[in-house]
């Protein structure tokens, strides 16, 4: 009787181990596949400017500084600047909602507290004219991401920022910055 229970238990434990091993989540198919909307995304995140790569990179770093980002990495040979900032993520609507739920049910829901915003700026020369940089043309692509943490210290969301308006405003600031750089302001 005793051995029977033991054998049953060992079989159960072995089954559990196999289950645990095979439960390791697999990478989803879409993770490294070009999404159908990749062309649209690229258009949203890219602009071209009539200037050389070096000038565009330095104007971009100035915009990032204007916006309070800390530049964490730069490699002009590949046209890359990566920067990030740590900011508040409190959403009044969410706080009021959580308060109402707590009042009604006595259960306190977590609310967003802070966020890390990450951005990479990547330039790509299209026309290079070393003699006259104003005849050069350079493309730039920026991508934003953010990681939001709640008041319990857990990550509540991690995502790419896809709001059209945010990219539009960034490029407006970039063209202003290029103007300021060109006029040495």
């Amino acid at each position: 009787m005793r051995y029977k229970v033991m054998i049953q238990f060992i079989a159960l434990a072995a089954g559990l181990m196999v289950l645990l091993n095979s439960c390791a989540p697999q990478i989803p198919r879409e993770a490294l596949q070009l999404p159908p909307e990749s062309f649209k995304q690229r258009q949203l995140q890219s602009r071209q400017f009539d200037t050389d790569e070096r000038t565009l990179l330095s104007a971009s770093s100035a915009v990032l500084q204007d916006l309070g980002f800390v530049i964490e990495e730069s490699e002009p040979a590949y046209g890359l600047i990566f920067s990030s900032k740590h900011r508040d993520a409190t959403n009044p609507g969410q706080v009021i909602g959580a308060f109402a739920v707590a009042l009604l049910t006595g259960v306190a829901l977590p609310v967003d507290r802070d966020q890390w915003i990450r951005i990479s700026v990547v330039t790509q020369p299209i026309v290079v004219d070393a003699a006259d940089p104003t005849k050069s043309r350079t493309a730039v692509r920026v991508s934003f991401q953010r990681i939001v943490r709640n008041d319990r210290g857990a990550v509540s969301r991690q995502e790419s920022v896809v709001e059209t308006q945010i990219y539009r405003e960034f490029f407006d600031k970039l063209s202003q910055s290029l103007f300021l750089e060109a006029n040495a302001l």
């Binding site: 990478i27 990566f82 990479s120």
Partner: protein, 141 residues
């Protein structure tokens, strides 16, 4: 009754031993499922171009197309690293090295949440996207 009582004690003890008896988590430092040779072959492709810089710029553009933010780059070592944030965290490092006079070797390795990706398929998808952006075909090593 006695037998059942003692097996009730035995069961958690054996389970505990099985868990404790597993490799310590420091094993993870050097842990891989595949051999180095197999991993390199899964993670590498050769392209017929001598231009390292152009290849790396294509790698960066591909990573951006795939929704990554490129957060590290070093030209002298030919390395970039990037992160994709979704319902999961996907991190990738890609290196580009010249191979002879007329070719470059591109190697990528990726991490999905807390796991190394060691299946060939995700890398194949990445290199397909890269080949598309380079207008060149990727050769296996």
């Amino acid at each position: 009754m006695k037998t059942i009582g003692s097996s009730v004690l035995w069961c958690p003890a054996v389970l505990l031993l099985m868990i404790v008896g597993c490799a310590p988590s420091t094993r993870q430092v050097l842990e891989t499922k595949e051999s180095e040779v197999r991993l390199r072959s899964i993670q590498s492709r050769i392209f017929d171009t001598p231009d390292q810089n152009k290849t790396m710029r294509a790698v960066i553009a591909t990573l951006q197309d795939l929704g990554f933010v490129v957060d590290k780059a070093n030209e002298s070592l030919g390395l970039v690293s990037a992160t994709r944030l979704s319902s999961y965290v996907l991190k990738m490092t890609v290196s580009v090295r010249s191979r002879g006079e007329s070719q470059v070797l591109v190697r990528a390795n990726a991490q999905y949440n807390i796991q190394a990706i060691e299946d060939p398929e995700p890398y194949q998808r990445f290199f397909d996207a890269l080949a598309q952006s380079m207008f060149l075909s990727a050769h296996q090593m």
